[in-house]
Structure formats: C-alpha cells, structure tokens
Amino acid sequence: MDAGAIIFILKTSLMAMVPIVLTSVGAAWSERAGVVSIGYEGVLLASAFFGAIFAEMTGHASVGLLGGILVGVLFGMLHGALTVYLKGDHVIPGIGINLLAAGLVPFGIIAYWGTAGQHQLPDSAKLWHIKLGHNGEISPMVIITVVIALVTWWVLFKTPLGLRVRSVGENPEAADALGINVEKYRFWSTVYGHALAGLAGAYMSVDWLGMVHKTMSGGRGFIALANMVFSNWNPLISLIGGWLFGFFDALATWLAPKHMVPEQFIYMLPYIMTLIIVAGIIGKAKPPKWDGRPYKRE
C-alpha cells in the first residue's frame, strides 16, 4: 500500500463517516428520549433525492442541505405524531417510511429527470470544499458533523435540557411528576433525530456522491442504528464508531477493483462488522429503560 492509497482511504473514510455519524447522533438523541425509529434508511434516501432537487433548482448546495433537513423534519413529525401522541407502534411506521422512500425515489427520478435509476448532479449543485495546502481539500460537512456530535453530546449530558430529555426516556413517570411535558420532549427529540438524518441524506447527494441513485442509502440508516447501539447511545463515541464504518466503506471501495477476493465478499464486510459489533463483542449495550415504549399518563 503506497502513500496515495493511504490518503485515498483516509479521505474516503472521512466522507463516508458523515452520514453514519449524523444519523446515529440523531437516533441516539431520539432514543434517549424513548422513541425508536427504523425509518432512517428511508429518510436518508428521500432527503438525498429532495436535497438534490433543491440544490439543482437554486444552484446552491446549501439550499439542498436545508431541503434535506426539511424532509427529515416532516418525517420526524409524522413518526412523532404516530408514536408519541397516538401511542402507536414504533417499528411499523419506520417500515412504511422505508418502503415509501424506496418507491418514491426511483419514481421521482423518472418523473423529475426522465432517467431511470440514477441522476448525476451538475457541478453547480455540489458543495464547495475547503482547500488544504496544494491539492488537498476537505468537505465542510466533515467539520460540521464533528461539531454537531460534540455539541449534541454536551447538550445531552451537561445541560438541564439534556437531563430532561434523558429523564423522559429513562423514567417518564418521574419526569411527568416533576412537571416535564413528556410528550413534547419526545416529539421534538424525534424531529431532531430525523432532521439530522435528513441533513445526512442531502449530504450524500449534493456533496459526497454528487448524484442520486435509487439504492444510494445502501443500508446506512441501519448501520447508523448499529453504530448507535455500539456507542451506547452516546454521540461522542458515535464519532469513533462512525469513522470505523467509514473506514470499512473506504477499504471496500479501494479493494473491490483489485480482484484479490470476489468483490461481493468485500461489500459484505461492513454488514458483517455491524453484526459482530451489535452481537456485543465490546460488551452488552444497555438502551434507555423506556426506549420504544409509549407513555400514557395515568
């Protein structure tokens, strides 16, 4: 392995880290408040699509990113309404959102751009990068992601707001008795979780991959959930876990064209790693006590 390969893998791993970390940080916040969602896969896909449309229409990738956040917020409000206010099941709406996005995006690519399967974004709709030295560069989204993870961790564990969010996930009865509006905290935590996934999805189309593809989320929504479990619902550790997954992603991209092993086995790697990690080689993870359970006031 030469220096070029090392730089390639390092750079790609940072880019691949972003969607996983953003989504698992959002999911961790939401689950700390007690709301489980498995719809992030669909949110990533849908926001990649709509983010690309917003970016192309306006010629600003940043508008695309905001559009992605908006898509995430809308899905988060839908999921929050169903689970928090109507006390419904937490898993089924996620299945629905994933299926909806898996249909909507290929449909939308045909209906909007008139091509089947995928669409390449023009350069004008892609995010600018920060120049480093002579020919190095870094996406501002890498830095933003690290900042979001740090700030989310700080708010969640070091401020009264975070304490309240965690209390509605650990012991909603006690929180309720202290006058905390359990439903309000749960609802907005769900929205925040999905909003970050929306940002992550738009990043994939307007920055990292520069295109929309009908299967571009590629299981990252679920890998992010695995990373959340791995990191013990802690945004700070999510950064490390997310980078590890990014590293395997990058390694697979680098190894696949070399034909040392059948490429299908290389592509399996991140998913096998996820299984091993959630199986608890690091130690059994402990979710918040009221995670995924609807809370009804007596």
Binding site: L82, L86, P93, L100, G103, F222, M268, L275, A279
Partner: protein, 353 residues
C-alpha cells in the same frame, strides 16, 4: 383459548375481526388517495393509471391467473413476518431467506431432479439462513430488526457471488443454470399460474393451524403477548422465538424455491438477482394489511398480487411502476395508526354534529 378445541367454520370467521378488516380497507383507500395526489403532482392522470392497474389484474382469465401467480411468493414471505409478529418479533429477514430458497432450488434439483426434494431443500436453507438472527436475539439480545437487515445485505452479496460463480450458466452468462424438467412445478392450462399457488395457500392454512391449534403455537403467541406471563405459565420464550424464526424462514425459503421452480420459461435466477429481489419487503406489507393473520394474509396477498399483475398495463400508460411501492408504503404507515376505525368514527361524528 385452549389448544385442544376443535375449530368450526363460524369460529374461524369470528376470528377474522370485522373491525380489523375495515381498518385495512381504510388504509388501502388512504394509500391510493395519497398515491393519486403524488401522481397529479408529477403530472400524471391518476384515473387512467389506476383503471389500467385494476384492469391489468382482473380483466381476463389470464390476468386473474397472473394475479394469483404474483400473489404466491408474497403470500409466503408475509407468513414469515406474521409468524414473527405473533411471537412479538419483527422479522424483516424474509427477503434473504427467499434468496436462499431460490439458490437451493437451483443447487439441489441439479443434484437430484425431484420436485419435492427441491421444495424441501428450499425450506431447509431458508430456515438455516434465518437461524443466526434467532440465536443472536435469544443469546445476545440483539434486536432482530438490525440483525435481519444485516443478514439481508450479507445474503444479497452471497447470492450475487453464487449466481455469477458456482451456479453461472456457461451457455447463457445472464442466468444461472436451470431447474431440470423433472423438478418443475406444473402450470395450470396455458396460464403462467402454477400449482405453487395452492401450495402457498396450504402453507398459510398449516401456519394458522400451528399458531392456533397446537401447543407450540399457543406458546409462541403467549410469549408474543406477554413474555413474563408466558414464562410464568411454563412456556420457554427462547424456544418460541427460535421456532418463530425457523417456521418463518421455511415459509420464505419455500417461496424462493417455488418462484424459480415455477417460473415459465426461465426456471433460473436472472442477472443481478433481478427476479428474486424485493419479495420479502412486499411480504411485510401483505402481512400488516392481512393483520398478521394467516387467513387474512391469503386475501391481502391476492390484493397485492393484483397490483403486481396490473403494473405492466399501468406502465403502458406512461406511469412508472414504482408508484405502487409508494402506495404500499403509505398503506403501512396508515396501518400503524392505532385505533384507525375508532378515530375515523369519532371524526365523522364530530363532523356530523
């Protein structure tokens, strides 16, 4: 309910909850309504699209045969999700068990060209692929949603490797080797429908029988309803969970095997796994609309089969077939609204007052 009771027809009918049935119809209606809004938003004519869709699934004997043909695999993958749901498990793994049922059909019928052997091996491979998720759940507490989705991806790449590697057809590079003549499911008349449909219906009836009329099924449902109470009642929830994955894997494996053994004129897996992809995910929708009840699933599978049969005629009107998946997604989200029936009744009353 005691497991020794003999079921009468009226018992069976009373168990198909009318309220649940109406709720499923409401969910379907909402799915189509929002689908229509999306069609209009992108400049299509929903009336034209939907009428082509329904005509394509119902207009002639051939179309009805096509409807039943398309309902067969999703009926079986729906059973996978339903058995899981009854045990309190979200088993999303039907998709990859289906792949390995298909692989088994190719691999084993080429060793011994016998129909029943092929179906049996499909069921066994399907169950084996489901087992890791069951063991991870029971012994490591890994949430089945994550493990089954990961197994789906791993299975997908393993299947891709197998179809371009060991089972590639040297005469036709875009397909695997074929199921030999002696192991193919016979077709009914000149239609594309095979006897596999009736095997699938039989599987649903057997699943119903296991769940509601055996001790094993009672234990499974009891542990799905309340694990602590089940354990108190002398039921081992671990075994119930493992059985739910095994039975579910068998259903999907059977579906995958039958898909390949009955598919005129292919009888092979096509390039990139195109003809065996997506049935597991469709099965989730079928199961939820059928209220996770094996008998409800027969009806809901025929409904979704009709949508599939109709998509090609809808596509001829220029509407991309993916809109059907959008409608399915919306139906599932709607199904997730608890007490949909009561909610609607309340708002109708409020509107009338």
């Amino acid at each position: 309910m005691k497991s020794s009771e003999k079921p009468g027809v009226s018992d069976v009918l009373s168990k198909i909850n009318v309220k649940a049935f109406v709720e499923s119809l409401i969910a379907i209606a909402i799915g189509f309504a929002i689908g229509a809004v999306i069609l209009v938003a992108f400049g299509y004519d929903p009336v034209k699209a939907y009428s082509a869709l329904f005509r394509g699934g119902l207009e002639s004997t051939d179309n009805i045969a096509a409807t039943l043909h398309y309902s067969t695999p999703i009926l079986l993958t729906a059973l996978t999700f339903a058995v899981g749901a009854r045990t309190g498990i979200f088993n999303i793994g039907a998709e990859s068990s289906f792949y390995f049922g298909a692989i088994a059909a190719i691999a084993f019928t080429n060793i011994w060209g016998n129909l029943w052997f092929g179906l049996l091996m499909g069921m066994i491979l399907g169950a084996l692929w489901a087992l890791p998720a069951a063991l991870l759940k029971v012994y490591r507490g890994v949430h089945e949603v994550i493990s089954t989705i990961m197994l789906n991806w791993i299975g997908w790449y393993l299947m891709l490797y197998l179809i371009v590697g060991p089972y590639a057809n040297p005469m036709n590079p875009i397909k695997t080797i074929k199921v030999p003549d002696s192991a193919r499911l016979p077709l009914i008349g000149d239609t594309i429908l095979s006897w596999g449909f009736f095997i699938a219906v039989l599987a649903a009836v057997v699943t119903y029988f296991i769940l509601w009329h055996t001790t094993l099924g009672f234990g499974m449902r009891a542990s799905g309803y309340n694990q602590r109470a089940a354990r108190y009642g002398g039921i081992n929830p671990k075994m119930a969970i493992i059985w739910s994955f095994v039975i579910g894997g068998m259903a999907s494996g059977l579906g995958g095997a039958m898909k390949i053994m009955s598919e005129f004129p292919g009888y092979a897996i096509s390039q990139g796994g195109a003809n065996i992809y997506g049935f597991g995910f469709d099965g989730i929708g079928v199961s939820l609309v059928g209220r996770n009840h094996p008998l409800g699933i027969i009806l809901s599978a025929i409904f979704f089969g009709m949508l599939k049969a109709g998509t090609s005629s809808m596509q001829q009107t220029g509407v991309p077939l993916e809109i059907v998946k959008v409608i399915q997604g919306i139906i599932i989200i709607t199904v997730a609204i608890p007490g949909l029936y009561d909610l609607l009744k309340k708002s109708v009353k409020r509107g009338a007052a």
